[in-house]
Symmetry: C2
Subunit: 123 residues, 2 copies
DNA sequence: CAGTAGTCTTAGAAAGCAATAAGGCAACGC
DNA sequence: GCGTTGCCTTATTGCTTTCTAAGACTACTG
């Protein structure tokens, strides 16, 4: 069986479904405060696990688990040097993604603040 | 108490935590295949619930629930007209976000295909 | 070689999320 | 008014994710 799609409508539907599944999984990986924070910490370059652990105020196990999730999905990459492991973000467009998300959230917050302002000044 | 932060370090830490929490929640909302699909369907303009329901091949309840999640987080907006409700994406930058995500996933897939190719040709 | 620091893995408990099913509410047509 | 259509809500049950704790592995250090 070829992986190319031609003619089989339901197979194509399944493949289309798989694409949405992948995208959703990707977002779900970003959907944890600790992991978002890790990515932002890695914006300025690589960091060791211990370093991140300290910044996150989290124990070794938790830090490692979240790094593991990000690594398993190909978002992070680890490089061992002695006893330390240095992590980096593999695709810098991740930062672009975070930036767009920040913009969306910011204007959404500004909007709701404006609404709040109207409420408090008029009533 | 002012919402402005000055002097209280732990309060600032809490606020910083809240920001990561918000970003993570935002991504988690996008982290479901049906919701990703809904957003892509809304790329070309507004749609009624029944319309979406038909495209998603999903019952009224499920469709409504996912739309509800997106609406509650300010991503979608609903407008009633007769018995139908038309939904739209509030911030078009959402599409930019989806596009960046698509690019990241695409090159990640190409990379792994290249690795797969090396494996199969060499061994 | 024994001890230590750094990282990762696993298992089990707790929490959160999603699918289904059942019912409710609002607007329209007869 | 009565029934119908379209949409939303709630409750339940099952699944997935996350947290905590314990231990294991690897690479350095004396």
């Amino acid at each position: 069986m070829s992986s190319r799609s031609h003619g089989n409508a339901s197979a194509e539907a399944v493949q289309r479904g798989a694409v949405y599944q992948m995208k959703a999984e990707f977002f779900r990986v970003l959907g944890h405060p600790v992991r978002v924070r890790i990515l932002e910490l890695l914006r300025d370059g690589e960091r060791t696990v211990g370093d991140l652990q300290h910044e996150l105020q989290m124990d070794s196990s938790g830090t490692s688990q979240h790094l593991g999730v990000l690594r398993k999905h190909g978002i992070l990459e680890g490089r061992r040097e002695g006893t330390s492991v240095y992590y980096t973000v593999r695709d810098p467009r991740i930062f672009q993604l975070l930036e767009v998300a920040r913009q969306i959230l910011t204007s959404s917050l500004i909007e709701s603040q404006a609404v709040l302002g109207e409420l408090t000044t008029r009533n």
